[in-house]
């Protein structure tokens, strides 16, 4: 519902209007350009209007979901998955020593202000309401990977006062870093602690910048985006590639998809199901 409203309001009508108003205030003589620029999603039958499309190779789904096979998660897999995510998305590492020459007089980083997209937890932290004194031994020591659940009913989307966090039609809950005002209401709203805030400029703490993905400015919230930028180029998410088959991503609404096939065969649980957020990340036990 929320999503539909957003699309109806923003596409062409309101955004186009604001934009046109803004431009004409600045440059009244640029009428042709205004037409060209603000012709958003108009279908573009006329050849002299610009057309915007997704890439042909893009991977698409009705509702993206993730299945994590806990039996295949080892410490090595965890390490390479977390590293792959960090390198792909320019996530700062507060243990990294900043380059003195490039960034002189940098104040020390506070570990508790760090940024995580996907990270390791124990069973009793990942599933705190399912704590059990007679829990099978193997689960006590097993590493659990936790990340954004891309909830169907995402509390963070509901909380955001600017629609900077929104739900795409394909189910990915994503951040518009350009729009975020840094109020951190979404962080209070997320029941999974999956969101991080940029308390400071991240650049000094990134060893090697991946030019394929932006760095974030200070003062905005961020989280896992299910590698939307890779899916759009026809690539699997970085964590899936690094996971040696432990993580699978696919269309939850497509009965023929691999994730659905796995879910049909195995007993899988989701985090804090009782909250009704409908997470899209499943854990095979």
């Amino acid at each position: 519902m929320i999503n539909k409203g957003e699309n109806f309001l923003s596409k062409s009508n309101r955004r186009g209007f604001l934009k046109a108003a803004g431009i004409s205030a600045v440059a009244i003589g640029a009428a042709p350009a205004i037409k060209a620029v603000s012709a958003v999603a108009s279908g573009g039958e006329a050849t002299n209007l610009p057309v915007k499309t997704a890439k042909i190779e893009a991977l698409t789904a009705k509702r993206w979901g993730m299945v994590i096979d806990t039996s295949k998660i080892t410490d090595e897999v965890v390490e390479s998955v977390v590293a792959a995510c960090r390198n792909t998305h320019n996530i700062p590492d507060f243990d990294h020593k900043p380059d003195e020459k490039k960034y002189p007089n940098i104040r020390p980083a506070k570990k508790m202000q760090e940024i995580e997209w996907i990270w390791e937890e124990h069973y009793h932290n990942a599933f705190p309401e399912m704590e059990d004194e007679f829990l099978a031994d193997k689960f006590k020591s097993l590493p659990f990977l936790v990340t954004c659940n891309h909830c169907k009913n995402a509390p963070c989307v509901q909380a955001c006062p600017t629609k900077a966090t929104f739900k795409r039609e394909d189910g990915i809950v994503i951040m518009d870093f350009h729009r975020c005002i840094g109020c951190r209401f979404c962080m209070a709203a997320c029941p999974y602690g999956s969101r991080s805030f940029n308390f400071r400029d991240a650049r000094p703490f990134i060893e090697k910048i991946n030019p394929e993905f932006p760095v974030r400015s200070k003062g905005v919230v961020e989280k896992c985006n299910l590698c939307a930028e890779r899916l759009e180029r026809g690539l699997q998410p970085a964590c899936v590639e690094a996971s040696e088959g432990a993580i699978v991503v696919g269309d939850l609404e497509d009965p023929e998809s691999e994730v659905r096939a796995i879910l049909k065969e195995n007993y899988a649980i989701r985090r804090k199901q009782e909250l009704g957020t409908e997470p899209s990340v499943y854990y095979i036990m």
Partner: protein, 131 residues
């Protein structure tokens, strides 16, 4: 008495308000020309024609970023028939893919007109990575 105070106050106000003018007397500089890279020169056509681009590139970029982030569309077939990747700095068909030199292409004019776009707080100048 109060007349003098008011006149003095007004004079101070006018002087302060005209600060940019009297401060810059004597150092007028000619407007810089953005320098095109060899690649950009060879391509001949950009997204919009030269004058449209000069006047409206900021709104075009603004529209692009919304389209990419919010509508997950990344390919832009311009009115002149050419196709571009809607990206500032990622890929050969992005802005920086052609206009490779940020300093000569972007900064020159931006510095001249004293605007500081926040794009580069997050997006990476391809040169920055190779350095």
């Amino acid at each position: 008495m109060s007349k003098n105070v008011i006149v003095a106050g007004l004079t101070v106000f006018v002087i302060v308000a005209l600060f940019p003018f009297w401060f810059n007397i004597g150092n007028t500089n000619a407007a810089p020309e953005a320098e095109l890279s060899a690649k950009a020169k060879a391509a001949k056509k950009c997204v919009l024609d030269k004058y449209d681009m000069r006047a409206n590139h900021m709104s075009l970029l603004d529209d692009w970023r919304d389209t990419v982030v919010r509508d997950s569309k990344r390919v832009y077939k311009a009115a002149n028939g050419k196709t571009f990747g809607m990206s500032l700095s990622t890929g050969e068909d992005s802005c920086m893919g052609c206009h490779v030199d940020k300093e000569k292409f972007c900064d020159k004019c931006h510095n001249y007109v004293s605007v500081a776009p926040s794009c580069w707080e997050c997006h990476t100048d391809p040169k920055e990575v190779t350095q």
